[in-house]
């Protein structure tokens, strides 16, 4: 996904250049699908007269056609209507720092979850996200994070048998 530029999302008069990034992304995705489909062997049989190839070829082509259609629509003044919501203030610029911090915290969780276990990685995920989102109650946040991850581990992994890794705390929990 092409991450959006920091242009104000709701200014309708300024043509949104980032929209062309969407077109580029779609073309790239379309090309990848076409290349992947090209290497499929299409052994059509009586059981499967169509084979596995035509549908990906169609989807890849469709993406490229849509990229062109979107480019034309944007050139003619179309703007994507950014999604509104209860906690969303569209008059503010995209806060890219917060988004990147959250992505970083989440990526750390992916790396750590099997090593350290859910209790530690989940607590770090909550703690890191809360701070990235502007919470400044460092101790209270940590307590809530620990309670949440311990509670979900005992409730879900041990109580309901849902697979969550214990990690280095195996045997202690």
């Amino acid at each position: 996904v092409s991450l959006p530029a920091t242009a104000p999302a709701n200014d309708r008069r300024v043509r949104d250049r980032a929209e062309f990034g969407v077109s580029a992304f779609l073309v790239a995705a379309g090309v990848v699908i076409l290349i992947d489909a090209a290497r499929l062997s299409n052994n059509r049989t009586g059981v499967d007269p169509l084979g596995p190839k035509p549908v990906p070829l169609f989807v890849g082509g469709f993406l490229i056609v849509l990229a062109i259609a979107l480019t034309i629509a944007v050139l003619r003044g179309s703007t994507g209507e950014a999604e509104a919501g209860e906690d969303i203030d569209l008059s503010s610029r995209v806060d890219i720092k917060t988004v990147l911090a959250l992505v970083g915290v989440f990526a750390a969780n992916i790396v750590l979850i099997d090593l350290l276990g859910w209790v530690i990685s989940g607590a770090l995920l909550f703690y890191g996200s809360a701070i990235a989102l502007g919470s400044r109650h460092f101790i209270r946040d940590l307590v809530i994070a620990a309670l949440l991850s311990l509670g979900t581990f005992y409730g879900f992994a041990i109580g309901l048998g849902i697979p969550l890794p214990a990690g280095i705390l195996q045997g202690i929990l």
């Binding site: 995705a29 062997s41 009586g46 469709f62 849509l66 259609a69 629509a73 906690d87 969303i88 809360a130």
Partner: protein
């Protein structure tokens, strides 16, 4: 009345103390999560899905039914008490509901929403019990060509009818189809778009897609635009309504139900259109139309009933055809699959007990909701004040837990993050998320049915339009498939057709159309999305 017998059996299965407890827990956590700002019914069900993983399918469905209704009601509470609407289905409820709350009538607004939801849910679920077996009987008689056509129609309807821009709708659909392609091809066994990664061989789990797009994508998007000043919550006591309010509400409840159920059952997706139509109807029929725009109770009662009835209507194609028509149904369908249940026309035959228990649970969940929500409303209102960093950190936390739990693999978390970024981008560029989810779920099935239809005709294109008649042994065009294709073409050409009708209409009729499109935007800042607008959408040069 064999169906009544089945339904009673369903009640017998659902009414055990354990299952009642599960339904109760489902309703409570469903409402609690659904009330939280920024969390719609689809995200509620997706986030709470792991809670049901340890249960056997019947109990899981019972709990899910409670979560589903709880999430729906929670969403309406939020839109009445906060001055910004959340999910698209409660946008219309929010218009008059929030005005009522601001005018000191929050208790009555919540009461008419709760009782209206109950009435609509009751009638809607009853109609579901009535229609699901009928539609199933019809569905079993369908062959691959008809299925192929109906699912194509679902694609086109969800993509082209809803939303403001068709191009953007189709982009979303194409992205969904792409995700659906990933994995081993079911017929030939060849790997598609797996890039040699073994974990992708089984494809991407729909639950991971739903959590990624709905939960992670939403959390990241809100984080990018987080309102530093938390929106005002209107304080509320225990909901109640007087005789006068009751008198003004009961007809809108019934009319809203009448709009909602049929629109939910057809694949024109979701509650946006029926809630809006209900609003217009009530405004037309009201004794005091001047109250509209200042908090008219009819404007809450009607749309809210329409919203719930359409949710029940959605269940008809979902249970009898395996066809999801809105985001919540898509997630529920994904849940069924994750319990190892194959959705489709044979569901009611193969898993009859389960389906009837589910329908009975919908009745039970609906009743529990009414009993719980009237006294608990002040508590739900307090949940709206949850500090936003905790709310969105919590969404990331539970999304991560849920996605990991699907396969017990951290690889799914990588997919979740990637899909979350896609969801973020889609919100940023106004791409609707519903067509994507529908594409992921139906894409592989459309391909399968299409290939099956061609197999029956030995690869000739005519296989898509009909099949061999069993009795005569000759090729016969399918009237149903052809009709569906004609509808698809009409929907695709609708902007042209609409323009033509507009030109041919006499002046008086044109005025009415203008008036309706004007009423569609009662609030200039938050225009609800509507049918009239969606067809002319963005393609018109400005």
């Amino acid at each position: 009345m064999g169906n009544l017998g089945f339904l009673l059996d369903g009640f017998a299965a659902a009414l055990t103390p354990m299952n009642l407890l599960l339904a109760l827990i489902g309703v409570i956590i469903g409402t609690a999560v659904g009330v939280l700002p920024g969390i719609g019914p689809a995200m509620t069900v997706a986030l709470l899905l792991p809670v049901t993983y340890g249960l056997e399918p019947t109990s899981a469905m019972i709990m899910l039914a409670g979560i589903f209704y709880g999430g729906m009601y929670g969403g309406s509470t939020t839109s009445i008490l906060l001055n910004t609407p959340g999910e698209s289905s409660s946008v219309v409820t929010a218009i008059e509901g929030n005005l009522m709350a601001k005018g000191g009538r929050a208790a009555q607004a919540l009461a008419t929403a709760a009782i209206g939801s109950f009435v609509a849910g009751l009638i809607g679920t009853f109609l579901l019990a009535l229609f699901a077996p009928v539609v199933t009987r019809f569905a079993i008689s369908l062959g691959a060509p008809e299925y192929f056509a109906i699912m194509l129609l679902a694609f086109i309807a969800v993509t082209a009818v809803l939303g403001t821009s068709r191009v953007r709708g189709f982009i979303s659909l194409a992205l969904g189809l792409t995700i659906g392609l990933i994995g081993l091809d079911g017929v030939s066994g060849q790997a598609r778009l797996t890039f040699g990664i073994p974990q992708l061989g089984d494809g991407i789990d729909v639950v991971v897609v739903a959590v990624g797009i709905f939960a992670l994508g939403e959390a990241l998007w809100v984080a990018a635009h987080l309102r530093r000043q938390v929106a005002d919550v209107i304080p509320v006591g225990r909901p109640w309504m007087g005789k006068q309010d009751f008198k003004r509400s009961w007809k809108p409840w019934l009319r809203g139900t009448a709009w909602g159920f049929p629109f939910g059952a057809i694949p024109a997706g979701g509650a946006e259109i029926p809630t809006f139509l209900s609003y217009i109807t009530e405004k037309r029929l009201a004794k005091h139309p001047e109250e509209f725009g200042h908090g008219a109770i009819e404007g809450v009662a009607g749309p809210e009933a329409a919203n719930n009835a359409s949710a029940a209507g959605t269940m008809v194609p979902m249970l009898s055809l395996g066809l999801p028509t809105n985001a919540t149904a898509a997630v529920l369908l994904a849940a069924l699959v994750s319990y190892g249940i194959q959705p489709g026309p044979l569901l009611l035959q193969r898993e009859g007990d389960l389906v009837w228990t589910l329908i009975a649970s919908l009745f039970i969940g609906n009743a529990l909701l009414l009993v719980l929500n009237l006294p608990l409303a002040p508590f739900w209102a307090k949940l709206l004040r949850i500090p936003r960093p905790y709310l969105y950190a919590g969404i990331l936390f539970f999304a991560s837990m849920g996605a990991y739990a699907v396969n017990g693999s951290s690889f799914d978390l990588i997919l979740l993050l990637a899909l979350g970024l896609v969801g973020f981008g889609m919100r940023r560029f106004g791409l609707p998320v519903l067509p994507l989810i529908i594409g992921v779920i139906l894409g592989p099935r459309v391909e399968l049915q299409g290939r099956r239809a061609l197999q029956l005709s030995s690869g000739e294109v005519k296989g898509l339009f009909g099949g061999i008649n069993q009795a005569t042994g000759r090729y016969q065009l399918s009237a149903l498939a052809i009709t569906v294709y004609v509808i698809i073409i009409l929907v695709l050409l609708w902007p042209l057709v609409f323009a033509l009708i507009r030109r041919l209409l006499p002046a008086r009729a044109r005025e009415v159309v203008e008036e309706i499109s004007h009423e569609a935007h009662p609030d200039a800042d938050e225009p609800p999305q509507l049918p009239a607008d969606s067809v002319t959408g963005e393609e018109t040069p400005r």
